[in-house]
Symmetry: C2
Subunit: 365 residues, 2 copies
């Protein structure tokens, strides 16, 4: 029998002797007087008593030892060995905490966080924004997220190719906001269509027949959905007016002039709705034009906002419209992601927006 030649041991150097590193399962095992395997069995005990049984006494010794040492499993090792580590990623290409608080994803993150915590997941924030500096963050920028069991994506600047790759690899991904162009991409979104329809319905109930939508020149789903809901609402109210009821402006501030508003009103229009965007330009322009046209808001014309007003208009009367349930959106996203991670075929429906009565809509004179 050939005796294998004794070789020195290559591989990593031992850990730096000086610093006491985080405790490993091996240390817990030593302290508890059991094997590393036992520690793993105890600490990763699955709810369903499937695995090998462990006596209560041993279990307690292990738990005590783990607590005493402050043991925390290494997510990387966990992920490598078990293909999961109870970590959910949140990836955003724009900074997750933008300087402008109002546009931040924070309300959304609150929902995400709550739901994730409730399900025993921790959150890892992957930031794509500044990592590359000049943007060229390399093709593997997104692959960092694979450290987590699944990942939530925020923002519309998520590179298609990378996302597609993740999806194709079967990696659990959920996109915030409707995004159907990518086959197999799971997403959660607010139901702008229904909410917008509801706003129109409300105006119709108040007796309005001629209603105009002011929107920006953008083809994002958030915009087109609102328009669709608006038109559906008109149809439902029995006043289908076709696309001429929509004012699509590249620059609402310039195009929505007092004169134009006055002309429309003179032509029989009694209500306007504006879409919400990051800048709030449409709503802002509409408001200004109406005021400068010398029209009083709930009295002469009714106004609606398909979304929430910009923060700096907090002082103004609350506009009739709807609020986006960012909390619930976040929670829904996590639920969906958790289902994907678990291999289930969950299907999270659109999240409904909340109608807001406000003070800018009144019965038609």
């Amino acid at each position: 029998m050939e005796q294998p030649r004794k070789r020195a041991k290559p591989g990593r150097n031992p850990a730096p002797a000086g610093r006491t590193s985080r405790p490993r399962q091996a240390e817990v095992a030593r302290l508890a007087g059991v094997s590393q395997a036992t520690v793993s069995l105890v600490l990763s005990a699955r709810g369903d008593g499937k695995g090998p049984a462990i006596s209560d006494e041993t279990r307690q010794r292990v738990l005590d030892a783990a607590r005493d040492l402050g043991y925390v499993p290494d997510p990387a090792a966990r992920r490598l060995a078990a293909a999961r580590n109870n970590l959910l990623g949140v990836f955003s290409f724009t900074a997750t905490f933008p300087t402008d608080v109002q546009h931040s994803y924070y309300p959304f993150l609150v929902g995400v966080e709550q739901e994730a915590a409730a399900r025993g997941y921790d959150l890892v924030l992957f930031t794509g924004s500044s990592s590359g500096g000049a943007g060229a963050a390399g093709p593997d920028a997104l692959s960092r997220v694979r450290l987590a069991d699944g990942c939530l994506f925020l923002g519309r600047h998520v590179p298609r190719a990378e996302l597609k790759r993740l999806v194709a690899d079967g990696y659990p991904v959920v996109h915030l906001g409707r995004r159907e162009e990518l086959e197999g991409l799971a997403w959660v979104g607010a139901d702008y269509v229904s909410a917008s329809r509801e706003v129109v319905a409300h105006l119709a109930e108040l007796g309005h027949r001629r209603i105009v939508l002011v929107r920006e020149d953008d083809d994002a789903p958030a915009s087109t959905d609102r328009q669709r809901g608006f038109l559906e609402g008109l149809a439902a109210a029995g006043v289908p007016q076709g696309p001429e009821a929509v004012l699509r402006c590249a620059d609402p501030g310039r195009e929505i002039t007092p004169e134009r508003v006055r002309a429309l009103v003179a032509g029989g229009v009694t209500a306007f709705v504006a879409e919400e965007t990051d800048t709030g330009a449409a709503w802002r322009a509409l408001n200004t034009a109406v005021r400068e046209a010398g029209l009083a808001c709930p009295r002469d014309v009714s106004l609606g906002l398909l979304g929430s007003p910009p923060a700096d208009l907090a002082g103004e009367p609350v506009p009739m419209g709807f609020d986006i349930p960012r909390h619930r959106l976040g929670a829904a996203a996590v639920r969906l992601l958790a289902a994907l991670v678990a291999g289930e075929e969950a299907d999270e429906p659109l999240v409904a927006c909340e109608f807001r009565r406000g003070r800018t809509a009144a019965a038609r004179l």
Copy 2:
């Protein structure tokens, strides 16, 4: 020689046959006709040509193979092998934030996020709500942060004992805000002393000689530092007035009355400064009292604010004072933490505040 008994091979099952998983280095190696080690060497080539040399031809073959297969490294394995997971924790309690970050901790987090991203770290968010996992935050709640390579702590409600434990274990921890009571705790903070001194110096330059500080009844470092800077500023201006120049109020709203202000002004006081706190009570009270005393702000008395004004006073004239560079504070905290994680002995100095000229201070009449 004892022949070790032949045993069956335990361990993981082979990967589920169905799904074609993404390629590993081994597959790339096979395709390129080299060993896995070579693939690793090629793909993780460090800039400094330290490692073993690889011929250009081999390198190219490997790169081609990797590209053909669409190879993407597994971050979990990468981090496991590298013995660090490039994760930084951010621990905060949602409920309350210390005075230094009260307005919003976004600016701080922005800095954290950017700096972390720039250094290749990802962030793990721990908050009061999620830290308990299944809800109740047990005594070992803080233990969870060990998941990360190091952790940033915000707020003063971090349990001392737990923090101490982490520090004692050599776990890299950085606290936001001066915190010297805990031996060995690294922290970053704004230099309130210098900034407050500068505010006083500015007033002195304008000719003010009798200046009064309005502060709340709190012994937080943020408060005492401001007072110290204030007194140092007086001394530097050659008008040391001792502690009687400080109005320490448990309830500024009640104690800083118009009468009192009028009396002080009658007694020769020409300028007031207030500390910034989470509530902004001192500044608010001072402002109100001055107005109700019938004094015009820059004309009759000059005012200074040792910090930034509360958000709801955004409409008022910008107060003379200083701004806390929250953004840079966040970045500094990450730099410090990264140094600790790397085992370096970095020492992040206090971060300077920015003087703000404002419109509430004028030359003494």
